[in-house]
Symmetry: C2
Subunit: 345 residues, 2 copies
C-alpha cells in the first residue's frame, strides 16, 4: 500500500476477507489503513465475528454497510483509497462516493490474491485432507455405478460420503454427466439413468475449513470402444505433460501449452474447449488460470488443478482432473486415486 | 426499454439470463436490443446452449466475452445502453468502455427482478415441489436428532435425502446450529455433537429445476426450559402475524413490521437481528427484502420467506421459517411441516 501511496484499502471480496481476518460470514467489508483494520458486518454476525476475528476491530452496522463505510472514509485525513475493481459493483461504488465525499479511487486488484496463491504448511495440510475426502468418497461411490442408476442418485451418494467424512459441503455443484451429456463440460446431474457402453464423468470436491478440493474421473460402463480408449489415453498423457511442466518458476500459460500440445498431436485439440486448470484454495477457482495469456509465475506452495478433457457432441466427454502442489523441486499430486481407465462390468 | 430510450440492455446477472433465455451455464452475457437478443458464452457451453436457449441467438466466444461484447456494441448505430449497476463490476465496465468506444451508459436495475417477483403457475408448481422436498427431508431426518450426533452428520443426512428426492443440490449452505452456536444465525455445521437440553436450528433448502426452497425449524433435545418455550411461542406468533399481514398490495416493510411488533411486545425485538424474510425463486435471496425501508408492493404470485428469530448469546437461537405465496385474496404456505415446538426424548 505504501508503494502505491494508498491511505486505505477497501476489501469486499469475501474470500479475501476470510484470508486476512478469519471471518467466514456472508456479509462484510474490511477497511485497512496503515495503522489498523476494521471489519464492518451486520448484527447477524455479532457473536460469530467475536469468535472468528482476531486481527481487526469489528463494527456491527444496522443498515447499509457501504453507507457506514462511506461516512468512515469521509473522516479519514487523507483519502487515496484502493478498491477491488474486479469485485466492487458499479452501484456500490456510487453509494460509497455519495457518502464519502471527495476521494481519489485506485483499482488495486490481485494483491491479496497473490498472497493467497502461495499456501503455507497448515493450508497445505488442510488441502491434503480435503483432497483425501474427495478421493475416498469417489472410491466408495464407484461400486454403485452401474446401468440403471441415476445421475442425481450418484451425486447424492458422493456428497453424502463427503459430508460424513467432515466436509462442510460440496466445493461446487457436483457434475455427473453420462453418455452424450458428458459433452457438456459443466452438466449438472439429471434424472437420466446411466446406460451400458456409456462414459460417465464425475467432477466433485469437498470444502474443509474453508479450503476446496476438485477431482474429476471418467469411467466407462461396459467395455470402452477403441475410439474411447484412444481419447482417454490422450487426455491422460496431456495431464502427465502438464504435470511434468509444473515446477517453481514456470508460467501458467506454459503448463496449459504442454497439455494442449499432446492433444494437438492426437488431433483432439479442437475438442478440448477449456483451459488446463486453475488455482485452488479458499475459492474453487482462483488465481492463476492455466490457459493462454496468463503469465503468472507459479511458486512453491501454489496449488492448481490439472484437468484436460475431450468432448464429442453426440457421444460424450472424458476429463481427468487432479490437484497438484508446486514443490521446491517440481510438483506433486494431492489427489491419489487411480487415474487409469476403469471399465465397469 | 422504449420508455427509458434505451437502444440496448446488457444483462450479466446469471439468474436474470436464466429467466430470460433458459441458459443455465456459469458464463454468459445477454445483449437485448429492440429487435433481437444475443447470448455470448464460451466453448464449454457450445452443446448445452444449443439445447437450452430458444429465444436468443448464441455466440460462442473464445477469449473475453466482454471484449467481444464491446466490439459488438461499437457496431450498433445508436448507443444508449442499459446495464445492471448492481451486478456489473467496475473492472468489467472499464473493459467494455475500452472496447465499445463512446457510449451513454444508463444503470437499469430491477426490471428483470420485478418480472421475476411474480411467479406463474408453472413456476409455482416447481416451487411447491422444491418446498415438499425440503419438508419431507426434514421430517425424515428428525428421528436421527439425539444427543451425540454431530451437526455435520445431520447435514449429510438432510442433503442426502433432498438429493435422492430429485434436488439438483442444496439451495444454500445448510445451517445446523446446536446449543450456543444457534445464536449465530448463519452458523455452518461443525463437528460439534448435539447435547441434551440444547436447542438445534435447521435451515435448509432444495434446488429443483433452478428454483429454491428455504425452510427453518428449531427443536429442543430434551425438555425445553420455560424461557425457551416463551421465546419459541413469541417467534411463532411473530411469524403468524407476518403471515396475516401478507396479502396482495401490502408493502414488504409492513410485513416485517407486523412480525417485529410481536417480538417487541414480548421484549425480544433486540434479539431479532435480521429482516423478517426475502423473495425466493431462481435465487434463494431475491427481491423484495421484508425489512425496514423496502417499500416494494407484493402482488399475487410473489413468493417470500417468513422467518423471524430470536438469538441469545451463550444460550442459543430459535428461528421458524416458511415459504409463502401471495394469492389473489391473501397468502398460503408452500411448506407444510409441523411448526409447533418439538421436544425430543
Amino acid at each position: 500500500m505504501d508503494a502505491d501511496e494508498l491511505d486505505a484499502f477497501v476489501v469486499i471480496h469475501l474470500p479475501n476477507i476470510l484470508y486476512l481476518t478469519g471471518f467466514s460470514g456472508s456479509s462484510g467489508i474490511l477497511l485497512i489503513t496503515a495503522t489498523d483494520a476494521a471489519l464492518f458486518t451486520d448484527p447477524r454476525y455479532t457473536f460469530q465475528s467475536k469468535q472468528e476475528v482476531t486481527d481487526a476491530k469489528v463494527k456491527i452496522v444496522r443498515g447499509s454497510l457501504l453507507k457506514e463505510l462511506g461516512k468512515h472514509l469521509k473522516s479519514l485525513p487523507r483519502r487515496r483509497i484502493g478498491f477491488e475493481g474486479a469485485h466492487l459493483v458499479v452501484a456500490q461504488k456510487g453509494l460509497l462516493e455519495n457518502n464519502a465525499g471527495r476521494i481519489f479511487w485506485t483499482p488495486w486488484d490481485g494483491n491479496v490474491e497473490a498472497l493467497r496463491m502461495v499456501k503455507d504448511k497448515s493450508e497445505l495440510a488442510t488441502m491434503q485432507e480435503a483432497a483425501d475426502i474427495a478421493c475416498s468418497s469417489w472410491e466408495e461411490t464407484l461400486p454403485l455405478v452401474r446401468p440403471g442408476v441415476s445421475e442425481t442418485d450418484l451425486a447424492a451418494e458422493l456428497e453424502y460420503r463427503m459430508r460424513r467424512k467432515g466436509a462442510a459441503g460440496p466445493a461446487f455443484d457436483t457434475i455427473i454427466a453420462s453418455g452424450e451429456r458428458g459433452a457438456w463440460p459443466h452438466a449438472r446431474p439429471s434424472r437420466k439413468l446411466v446406460k451400458k457402453n456409456e462414459l460417465v464423468v464425475f467432477d466433485l470436491g469437498a470444502i474443509l475449513r474453508g479450503y476446496s478440493s476438485d477431482l474429476t474421473r471418467t469411467v466407462c460402463v461396459g467395455r470402452a470402444s477403441p475410439e474411447m480408449r484412444r481419447w482417454y489415453g490422450a487426455v491422460l498423457e496431456a495431464q502427465q505433460a502438464a504435470r511434468h511442466a509444473l515446477h517453481p518458476g514456470v508460467t501458467a500459460d506454459r503448463v496449459d501449452a504442454a497439455a494442449r500440445r499432446v492433444l494437438k498431436e492426437a488431433g483432439l485439440d479442437k475438442k478440448f474447449t477449456h483451459s488446463t486448470g486453475h488455482g485452488l484454495g479458499l475459492e474453487v477457482h482462483e488465481s492463476p488460470r492455466l490457459g493462454r495469456g496468463d503469465h503468472s509465475v507459479l511458486r512453491a506452495g501454489a496449488v492448481v488443478t490439472l484437468e484436460p478433457g475431450v468432448y464429442v457432441e453426440g457421444t460424450g466427454g472424458i476429463r481427468i482432473e487432479d490437484d497438484a502442489v508446486v514443490t521446491t523441486s517440481g510438483a506433486k499430486y494431492l489427489t491419489h486415486c487411480n487415474r487409469e481407465l476403469i471399465e465397469i462390468g
